[in-house]
Symmetry: C2
Subunit: 214 residues, 2 copies
DNA sequence: TAGATTGTTAATCGATTAACAATC
DNA sequence: TAGATTGTTAATCGATTAACAATC
């Protein structure tokens, strides 16, 4: 799919292109030029064309880009042109929020199981067809259902051990919500969501813009 | 606090420095050189020194950095050396996850109110001393409690209107979980957490590393 | 003092933007 | 065909890394 190695800045922008193209498509827009899209998205037209051309020529000179086609192609690049199953480790507030987040299903992400080690959570019905499983049964589950993606939504102390168990059971992609940098083999990918750090960034921006506050 | 304008790459790394320094401090480490820290964090020593020197000289030649001091100073830069109040709009799964997330409190972030417009959620006890308020009372609450930070955890359709109301009532920092790019005045800062896009990035990484899969 | 390590300047690298020939 | 707009090369900008004089 990807030819050489694509910079993380480009990868980070792809879902945003996808979101805007999806909206254009819904609004019945058939074609768009990089110049028009650049205005809507507040980026340069050059950047759009450069980014897309990492993956192929999706446009046509003199015409621009077909919205529906480009939307589909970016979906393929992102790997969401298919069903992607994932399991969630941690049935706390955050884990349940992830499990109940309808938006993912729309993108082809299906949460197929949820695990926790807390006795008071095991067996809990999540109202979306899922019941919290015992984390002790993780290996057995993955042996029977070879899922390759997992979200880790547990406190950081337990995260490295869980990550290791997941990887040993064949998980190749970890969506990590724990406040720790996981060390993983080369063939395993990690995407971090560090909420505390995101909030600190907001705090920095706020206080540097408003130095007088409090 | 910040002299010129600091690049977002630097700002993004600050909370990570803060996290590692906090761990070193807890482990009783008194001093550390940029070379040692660079090894632990898998970055270059040059980058650490460059980053820190955007904000001042926190080290000492021949000695390195005092861990506790640097930790405190980065905390000041991030604006978390004080209490930061915030309100949460949206008492769905994600809003409740944010509201119950103990880690923020430790960093001085206090969630002081929670709002929703859904009748079945208004009045709900969140078990952390908060009760879900009626979103219609947002303006009145902010008039009485001039909070400057707010998290938006509602579907994207309602987000622009809510953001506008927040800003009109004096909110200056928005932690945005809705899948939309908010347009805000110059004196208002936004930090986005786009979970769907994060998951798509994970999907991209996974499928480009494992092109054979499914 | 001598050794260590910073703060900072210079060199390199990569990403973004501009320009334009190719082409629909 | 002529006009429009891409794909792509070249120029610029900014961020990262290297180097080293300053100094604790």
């Amino acid at each position: 799919m990807a030819e050489k190695s694509i910079s993380s800045a480009v990868i980070h922008r792809l879902p945003r292109y996808y979101r805007y193209l999806g909206e254009l498509k819904e609004n019945g827009v058939e074609r768009i030029s990089s110049a028009e899209l650049s205005q809507i998205m507040s980026v340069t037209a050059s950047q759009i064309r450069q980014d897309l051309n990492h993956f192929g020529g999706f446009g046509q000179q003199g015409y621009g880009y077909n919205v529906a086609y480009l939307y589909t192609e970016i979906g393929k690049i992102l790997g969401i042109d298919r069903r992607n199953d994932l399991i969630v480790i941690g049935a706390g507030n955050l884990g349940r929020a992830i499990a109940n987040y309808g938006n993912f299903e729309r993108r082809g992400f299906h949460i197929v199981a949820m695990f926790d080690r807390r006795a008071d959570l095991i067996g809990m019905d999540l109202g979306n067809g899922l019941t919290v499983r015992n984390a002790a049964d993780l290996e057995q589950y993955l042996a029977e259902h070879p899922v390759r993606m997992a979200a880790i939504a547990i406190p950081k102390t337990g995260a490295p051990e869980v990550a290791e168990r997941l990887i040993k059971s064949g998980v190749k992609a970890i969506w990590n919500f724990a406040h720790i940098d996981l060390e993983v083999p080369d063939d395993v990918v990690v995407e971090n969501v560090h909420l505390s750090e995101s909030l600190m960034e907001l705090s920095y921006k706020y206080h540097s813009r408003h130095p007088e506050a409090e």
